[in-house]
């Protein structure tokens, strides 16, 4: 044990997490599990969808004894768009029975390009969905094949255009660092994406997660991870090309036209409360994070028998650790954190959390502080984990 002083965060009088104004619903179904994906989902078991919806209704009733109002609602997955139009309508009905969105609220859904036929689109519009995030991942045929996606670049392009006619706020998700992808390939995907003039772009560096087929293929030597240098160049390219086209960066992996930032996700980076439903979904209420059982089948079975499946996690942090976590999240945002406001909310100044490392990170050019805001520099974003780590435990 080190005896060095650690900043003592004192819980402020007003709870830093605030009242819940956001809700997340996890829809754990996909046609097929992509080789790199480790999300909570079950592929090829559409027969479970109706029972899932039954269970979801029970869970929402159980957790929300009365109606609640939220500013943002997010349907994530899995692939929510994989549900049939009827099932979608049922999903929205179940959620809407207890959760209502304020008039200017944001209602997002994640979708795969091929799913969004006119019938489904109509169901979304009908339900008040006003933001769609499309999992395009790439416009290059070779990459799409390796990533085990079921659409072509052209189909993705068409999907974005079609969806936008019904719901203007469309986001495109892209993956870089796919084995074999060149810088030129990546640039071409970014160009193709920008040509569609999306409101929002997410760029995710491919990670090899334990338990995925990509992981074991890499272990076997059947798949080569992109070199670190190349991944960095790709990331830097996104940070240049997207803002230059009018889509500035607002978080480590997210870019948006001004006003089109995903407000729901900002709830997470701002460490505010959120309801969450469905297997593997993590709620944050009253300062307690609680993640549902991660197995879709177990979650369904237990919820249907009116039991509570053992949660994957129940966590209530000390004020100090809560402040540390909030710094980790807040610094992901490009604008960074407002030090004074942060200290009022969490009872600790953000720089004190990094202790002696703070000055080093600043002089390394990874962290900067100006007019009361603390943020990662562009260099710092490339090595964000190395920087954020320093905020997570006293030394």
């Amino acid at each position: 044990m080190s005896r060095s002083e650690s900043p003592r965060a004192v819980e402020p009088a007003i709870a830093p997490w605030g009242p819940p104004r956001a809700a997340y619903v996890h829809v754990p179904f996909c046609r097929h599990r992509c080789g790199y994906c480790d999300f909570t989902l079950i592929a090829g078991r559409d027969d479970l969808i109706d029972r899932y919806l039954d269970a979801l209704a029970l869970e929402i009733e159980r957790e929300l004894p009365g109606p609640v109002e939220v500013d943002t609602l997010f349907f994530g997955g899995g692939t929510p768009s994989h549900l049939s139009p009827d099932q979608l309508a049922r999903l929205f009905g179940i959620v809407g029975s207890r959760i209502s969105l304020v008039p200017e609220g944001e209602c997002s859904i994640e979708a795969n390009p091929l799913d969004l036929d006119n019938e489904r689109l109509a169901a979304l519009v009908q339900a008040g969905v006003n933001r769609v995030s499309i999992g395009v991942q790439s416009f290059q045929p070779g990459e799409l094949r390796l990533l085990e996606r079921d659409h072509t670049g052209i189909e993705a392009r068409d999907a974005v255009r079609r969806v936008r006619r019904a719901i203007p706020n469309v986001g495109v998700d892209l993956i870089f660092g796919t084995p074999g992808q060149s810088l030129a390939d990546w640039s071409a995907s970014l160009e193709a994406c920008l040509a569609l003039e999306p409101a929002h772009v997410s760029t995710y560096g491919l990670t090899f997660e334990k338990g995925t087929s990509f992981w074991s293929r890499r272990e076997r030597g059947a798949l080569r991870q992109s070199p670190e240098d190349l991944e960095r160049e790709m990331y830097e390219l996104a940070m240049e090309q997207l803002p230059a086209a009018g889509v500035p960066q607002y978080e480590i992996s997210n870019f948006a036209r001004p006003g089109f930032e995903c407000r729901h996700n900002e709830t997470y980076w701002d460490a505010r409360s959120c309801w969450a439903f469905g297997p593997g979904a993590a709620s944050y209420l009253g300062g307690v994070r609680r993640q549902n059982h991660r197995s879709t089948t177990t979650w369904i079975a237990r919820t249907l028998t009116r039991e509570v499946a053992p949660p994957a996690l129940v966590e209530e942090l000390s004020p100090e650790d809560r402040a540390r976590e909030a710094a980790m999240l807040g610094l992901r945002r490009t604008r960074g954190i407002d030090s004074a406001a942060f200290e009022r909310r969490f009872g600790a100044a953000p720089r004190s959390l990094a202790g002696a490392a703070f000055e080093r990170l600043v002089s390394a050019g990874w962290l900067e502080e100006s007019s009361g805001w603390l943020r990662l520099t562009r260099e710092g974003r490339c090595v964000a984990d190395t920087v954020l780590m320093e905020f997570l435990s006293p030394l």
Binding site: R3, Y24, G205, E228, E315, A384, M389
Partner: protein, 616 residues
């Protein structure tokens, strides 16, 4: 207690052959402990002993045995009458088997007239069996061979007895066969002790002579001194004098271990017990010293023995400089209980203020470290251990080098000497070739081979200590499928072609990574070392060059490329806890790093000098 009714003996054996388990049985049979108090290896009461299941410190116990008279098949020493039946006081000493603690065996033997030499019924004679048997033979002790673990499903009793004869030169016909675990034939052991171990000799009317054979520190009573009375009598209230220490004290308390400290009025010739004199520091009691009366002094002290010298050294540095004083206190506490552990302050450019600590061997080092980690609230960086060296300087002065950094310039060195050990291996015959190759590769000098039967042989080599302490035991075990054993004994220092190998990190020498190596191995070692360091040191914002050098000459290099990208792409609701924990863990790992210039070196890297070994 009359001299004729006292027997003093040690239990000696190779590691794990069952010494402490046999001691349990002897205690149980003689009701020194009750069934209720019984627990396995009851004498191993130190925490490290219980944790590791080994004996580290010798333990003396007095037990009382009602000897019924000789049995029909009693093997009495030739030409002696059987001892009379009656109540006998048996002073037994359970000893450690591990080579690091061999000195505990030697001094225990000096307090006895006999030794039970245990041999595992399956494993047979092993390296420490030989070492301990020879020590007992040299001390002129009556040895009773005891084949233990006869309950094992597979035994080799006949071969084992043959080994006892051929290798140890003992009469196998006199061996007992027991199972300490199952309590089989324990009575035979007790009887044999009375019949075969000579009663102590010595004149109870002569001036007092008692041998100090051990000591320990007790939080309440101060130093407890273990003695064996050779002549005269010791009583409570006596004014005594330590002949070598030349100090005088009054005995405030005295007694026997039964097995707990049990006060008594006096100790007579042959008896083993403890005295308490109000001495506060262990350093003030010299093991091997002679106790006599302050008034009526003995003319000559007993021969005694030397405190063993630490041969293995390493640096210990607090990660947080403000912990220096805490660490010093903890080390002092440690040395109070263990006089063979030494420490002295030193400074390192890389690690700041710390201590150079000396140990008897690697196990000893591990044990002390483990205790420090547990008992001291101090985060430590430990450097790789090295043996001690001797340097004869131009001009004739002789210096001892416990830290490679202290090596003088080559120009000042007349002779660079390293400790040499005589190593005894006992290995399956079919592995002899492999072991000989291993020894040749490590600069060994062949001495002899002796066959112990058709399948096993004893091989003797002289090897530099530096080549054996780190991983020789592991290499031996893997070369012999676990059947080989070894023992060593440092026999002196010998000149050798040694050089100091430095490691430069980003152009600057990191003194705590310097090692002394044999010149012929320097290049290979240097390469292995920088390669290993490359794995251990995390990427930085810039490139980090690693070089191995002898003097100004770089003999190996590696480069750690700059950190380019390290960022988690997704961090939404369900990812947050996992992410936080992961980064927290990485940060915790960094606590064990030391900032050196711009480079952070993890604590593990300082030990990698060890792993990088001689082979790759």
């Amino acid at each position: 207690m009359q001299r004729e009714f006292i027997r003093n003996f040690s239990i000696v054996a190779h590691i794990d052959h069952g010494k402490s388990t046999l001691a349990d049985q002897l205690l149980l049979r003689t009701q020194a402990i009750s069934d209720r108090e019984f627990q396995e290896q009851i004498l191993d009461d130190l925490e490290v002993e219980r944790e590791r299941g080994i004996t580290v410190k010798a333990r003396a116990v007095a037990i009382y045995y009602d000897y019924p008279g000789p049995s029909t098949d009693a093997q009495l020493p030739a030409g002696t009458a059987p001892p009379p039946p009656g109540r006998y006081e048996l002073n037994l000493i359970d000893t450690p088997g591990h080579v690091d603690f061999h000195y505990e065996v030697s001094r225990s033997l000096a307090a006895c007239e006999g030794a039970l030499l245990l041999v595992d019924a399956f494993q047979g004679v092993q390296a420490q069996t030989v070492a301990n048997a020879y020590a007992a033979i040299e001390g002129n002790l009556e040895i009773i061979p005891v084949v233990n673990k006869i309950d094992l499903p597979v035994t080799r009793i006949d071969e084992v007895l043959n080994e006892v004869e051929t290798i140890l030169g003992l009469d196998a016909a006199t061996a007992l066969r027991v199972s300490a675990k199952q309590g089989l034939n324990i009575e035979d052991v007790l009887r044999a002790i009375v019949e075969r171990v000579p009663a102590p000799r010595g004149d109870s009317a002569a001036p007092l002579k008692a041998l100090v054979f051990d000591s320990k520190y007790d939080d309440y009573r101060g130093v407890v001194t273990y003695v064996r009375v050779k002549e005269g009598r010791l009583a409570k209230g006596d004014r005594i004098r330590f002949m070598k220490g030349a100090t005088t004290h009054e005995i405030t308390d005295l007694g026997q271990f039964r097995p707990h400290m049990t006060p008594c009025e006096s100790l007579g010739v042959g008896q083993v017990g403890y005295i308490i004199t109000g001495i506060k520091a262990l350093g003030n009691v010299h093991v091997g010293d002679t106790v006599t009366h302050a008034g009526r002094q003995a003319a000559e002290p007993l021969p005694g023995y030397k405190q063993p010298k630490p041969m293995v050294f390493c640096g210990m540095y607090p990660i947080d400089a403000t912990d220096f004083e805490n660490l010093r206190e903890e080390l002092e506490k440690m040395s109070l209980n263990d006089a063979s552990f030494t420490f002295a302050p030193e400074t390192s450019d890389a690690l700041g203020f710390g201590f150079r600590c000396g140990f008897l061997g690697m196990l000893h080092m591990e044990i002390i470290q483990q205790r420090l980690e547990k008992e001291a609230d101090v985060d430590l960086i430990q450097t790789a251990p090295n043996v001690t060296y001797e340097i004869l300087k131009r001009g004739g002065s002789l210096v001892q080098i416990d830290n490679p950094v202290d090596t003088p310039d080559p120009g000042e060195i007349e002779e660079f000497r390293e400790p040499i050990a005589k190593v005894t291996f006992i290995v399956p015959s079919k592995n002899i070739g492999t072991i000989m190759q291993l020894c040749e590769d490590r600069r060994g000098t062949y001495k002899s081979t002796e066959y112990m039967g058709p399948d096993r042989a004893q091989l003797i080599y002289e090897l530099p200590l530096a080549e054996i302490i780190y991983d020789m035991h592991d290499k031996l075990k893997s070369a012999t499928q676990g059947y080989g054993t070894m023992d060593y004994d440092v026999i002196g220092f010998r000149e050798s072609d040694l050089v100091k190998l430095d490691i430069l990190v980003k152009g600057t020498r990191v003194d705590a990574l310097s090692t002394i190596v044999y010149r012929g191995f320097a290049e290979r070692r240097g390469r292995a070392l920088v390669k290993k360091l490359k794995e251990e040191i995390p990427k930085h914002q810039f490139e980090v060059a690693l070089q191995a050098a002898i003097g100004a000459k770089v003999i190996a290099r590696e480069t750690i490329s700059a950190l380019r990208k390290n960022v988690t792409a997704k961090c939404y609701g369900g990812d947050i806890s996992r992410k936080r924990k992961l980064l927290q863990k990485q940060k915790e790992g960094k606590k064990r790093m030391k900032q050196f210039g711009q480079v952070e070196i993890p604590q593990k890297a300082f030990l990698s000098v060890l792993d990088a070994g001689n082979d790759d």
